[in-house]
């Protein structure tokens, strides 16, 4: 008998739960009932405050207006990340991973040209030479003007947001606009069918809630996938050492203080500090490996970064277990968000994985139970690949450091802690730049350009002597570098500050065209 997918039950609220529920309802609400069960007693973790540019499409798909989102979620614009003190720990040690591809990327050989310029004279950093976005970030400028339509850009952008406000905003939208049923109750038992599928979950007040597909958004608890199905957890702490976060919310010193338009990530003895500027406050946190520092030392580092204001602020300690489930979809249960895994906050990979999972579940929602196993298999393959690639890319940030102040950095460089897949790529890149063909899956999370920004930002040197295709004519590359300088001048002259644009959005809003 063909069992048709008619009802999806999301267990757990938070951003993961509501994004997944919303994406499914937005696409299938005529055919599929979406119910979300949320515990009144479990507080979400709420540290995911940085997004990728993908969030713009997620909001569009959910039918959300950008102006409403920015006003409700204390959101601001993010144009990439600035990594300070990751390489040498000196005062002038920083590089950018912007959100735009290098000028003329994929045509010509910009990286070799840049390496040559580096040898001859003192040209700018890789990211300033090939991308105009760093200049905007350094001056806290917005990625667009109030005349731009919502979600459109002059410089590509993502968001910084207040995770708690975002979760509430999504919840309201999902209930009021997308017709999702919210049940506030605790799930106390999981009930199986004969074939091992989840038939229903038992709740404390609302009895049994049955469904055809169950989405586990229960956070680190991983109630369904980890708890009920006992799907093993792949620990990654041998590669990514960070296991603790100390988070704090820092008010601005002045109400009109500049709002950084990028995540600032500053290297520390046993990890790094994130610094995320929202409209009304900053979110700051030290993520560290407890094996290499004490909590008191970590507190001191955080206090030194934040300054005297820290004395009046509440510091929250959040344990991190770096890793992911060995599969994400078992029977009729799929995990999204922290229940699937978490690595560390670097490069804001948590929310984007939620978006990607919600998108694939919604786009490929199995029509019947028969095809669900095929979808599950493909989902697991896709996401195991994605997690592996993210692990490689995060690790890349640590292996090129020259810091000597703590074993944290030395051990990170130890080849025994580096995945073979990354070691292989590093070997290839000794002779040529990362290229799109190095990443051939349809499911790539980070493009080759991202690897270039990190590699050359951290001073990795390509061996030009063995470059096989050294052009004799650099006119195309010269053109791109000149064009980039023009774009920097133009953008800096025409874009308002991040704060000024956010104020205008509050006053006028964006139009939809």
């Amino acid at each position: 008998m063909t069992h048709v997918t008619k009802k999806v039950v999301i267990v757990g609220g938070g951003t993961a739960g509501w994004i997944t529920a919303g994406r499914i309802a937005a696409k299938h609400k005529q055919q599929v009932e979406v119910v979300l069960v949320e515990s009144p007693n479990v507080a979400p973790i709420r540290v995911g405050e940085g997004t990728w540019p993908t969030m713009r499409n997620t909001l569009i798909q959910l039918g959300i207006r950008e102006t409403d989102f920015i006003r409700a979620c204390d959101a601001s614009f993010k144009q990439g990340a600035k990594f300070a003190k990751w390489t040498t720990n000196e005062a002038n040690d920083f590089y950018y991973h912007p959100l735009m591809l290098p000028q003329g990327f994929g045509q010509g050989d910009l990286t070799t040209y840049w390496h040559q310029l580096q040898q001859q004279a003192n040209c700018g950093s890789f990211s300033t030479s090939v991308c105009f976005q760093e200049a905007l970030c350094e001056q806290n400028l917005a990625p667009k003007t109030i005349r731009c339509a919502e979600f459109s850009h002059i410089a590509n952008y993502a968001y910084h947001l207040d995770s708690a406000k975002f979760s509430t905003f999504l919840q309201q939208h999902c209930i009021n606009q997308l017709g999702i049923t919210q049940i506030i109750d605790d799930v106390v038992a999981v009930n199986s069918n004969e074939n091992g599928d989840i038939a229903s979950v038992s709740t404390r007040q609302n009895g049994l809630i049955d469904g055809d597909l169950f989405v586990d958004c229960t956070g680190f608890a991983s109630l369904l996938l980890g708890g009920h199905y006992q799907v093993p957890f792949n620990d990654c702490s041998d590669v990514l050492f960070i296991d603790t976060a100390l988070a704090v919310q820092v008010p601005y010193a002045e109400p009109d203080a500049d709002i950084a338009s990028h995540t600032i990530s500053t290297g520390q003895p046993a990890g790094w500090i994130w610094d995320i500027g929202l409209q009304t406050r900053r979110g700051v946190g030290y993520v560290y490996a407890s094996q290499y520092t004490t909590e008191q030392q970590a507190q001191d580092c955080l206090a030194q970064y934040v300054g005297p204001a820290v004395d009046k602020l509440e510091v929250r300690k959040i344990p991190i277990r770096s890793g992911h489930r060995s599969k994400f979809w078992q029977n009729n249960c799929v995990a999204v968000g922290l229940s699937a895994g978490f690595l560390e906050p670097l490069e804001a990979s948590a929310l984007v994985l939620v978006e990607l999972a919600a998108e694939m579940i919604s786009e490929q929602l199995p029509a019947t139970r028969t095809v669900m196993d095929i979808v599950a298999k493909r989902f697991n393959e896709t996401f195991l690949y994605r997690w592996q690639k993210i692990i490689d890319f995060l690790k890349l940030h640590y292996i090129l450091s020259k810091r000597q102040d703590n074993d944290f950095w030395r051990d990170n460089r130890d080849p025994r802690t580096i995945p073979d897949s990354l070691l292989e790529l590093m070997e290839l890149w000794r002779y040529r730049a990362p290229a799109d063909l190095d990443f051939t899956s349809n499911n790539e999370v980070f493009p080759a350009a991202s690897y270039q920004y990190v590699l050359y930002g951290m001073g990795f040197k390509q061996t030009l002597a063995h470059t096989q295709t050294m052009p004799t004519d650099w006119s195309f590359e010269q053109q791109q570098f000149t064009q980039n300088q023009k774009m920097i001048a133009q953008a800096v002259a025409n874009l308002p500050s991040n704060r000024a644009l956010l104020d205008k959005i509050k006053q006028y809003g964006f139009s939809h065209i």
């Binding site: 003007t145 109030i146 005349r147 731009c148 205008k504 006053q507 006028y508 809003g509 964006f510 139009s511 939809h512 065209i513």
Partner: protein, 247 residues
């Protein structure tokens, strides 16, 4: 715009305005803001489009007098060759201002803020001893000044009507970005962005009820004025080509 001065009969008893010079205010302006009540006049000769206000990003109806920044194809040797002078020019050098003191007072009393008429002292309409007086010798407003004040009222009302009109277009999703590619007689090319017009396909699909509602709000003829006026872009291109050929 330079700073404005509030007008009073004591300080400005002898002020004279030369209305023939108002068009000089269109120098180096390719887009002139217009209000709903003048759409029909504007549409006779100029493309009537919508742009976004640079400060607020809000939609703003404008008459196109040129094809690129600072270009007014209707002004030659200080002579304006347009049939109709938009209110935004006719009103020069007068503006409506709000007196700070009065405004503070009304905040306490809750009464409406009285408007104050101001003028732009740098306006080319102020040529000294030529033109129209705004006050008689005994300090009474002249008919000229009273007409000017009426015109300011028309603009104020028009701006409110504009807002309703634009909101309606947005609600009905009738606006679409215009992208205009031009090749001139000297083979130079130009792409004009940042302008919006009526989406004719969507307009054609509106229900009878909606059309009746639009007619009752006097928006229907405004929409037709916008659609038909777009053809004047060809006239602008021709004017520009003539200039290029004359070079």
């Amino acid at each position: 715009m330079s700073s404005l001065i509030a007008i009073d009969p004591v300080n400005h008893l002898n002020l004279q305005i030369n209305p023939t010079q108002v068009v000089q205010h269109s120098k180096e302006q390719h887009l002139i803001p217009v209000v709903l009540s003048e759409f029909e006049h504007v549409a006779l000769q100029y493309p009537l489009v919508i742009t976004k206000n640079g400060e607020s990003g809000q939609f703003l109806p404008v008459a196109m007098l040129g094809l690129s920044l600072s270009e007014n194809l209707f002004l030659h040797d200080d002579q304006f060759n347009g049939l109709y002078v938009p209110l935004q020019l006719q009103r020069q050098p007068f503006f409506v201002g709000v007196d700070d003191e009065e405004s503070a007072k009304s905040e306490q009393t809750g009464e409406l803020v009285p408007y104050t008429v101001c003028f732009d002292p740098k306006s080319p309409t102020i040529t000294g001893s030529e033109g129209e007086r705004i006050y008689t010798d005994d300090g009474q407003e002249t008919a000229f000044f009273q007409e000017a004040k009426q015109l300011l009222g028309q603009i104020l009302e028009g701006e409110a009507a504009n807002e309703q009109f634009i909101n309606t277009l947005v609600e009905l999703d009738l606006l679409q970005p215009l992208s205009i590619d031009i090749e001139y007689i000297d083979h130079s090319t130009q792409r004009i962005n940042g302008l919006f017009g009526v989406d004719q396909a969507k307009f054609a699909q509106l229900s009878g009820d909606t059309l009746v509602a639009l007619r009752e709000q006097h928006f229907l003829k405004a929409i037709y004025a916008m659609i038909i006026s777009l053809g004047h872009i060809y006239a602008l291109i021709e004017k520009k080509n003539e200039l290029l050929q004359a070079k």
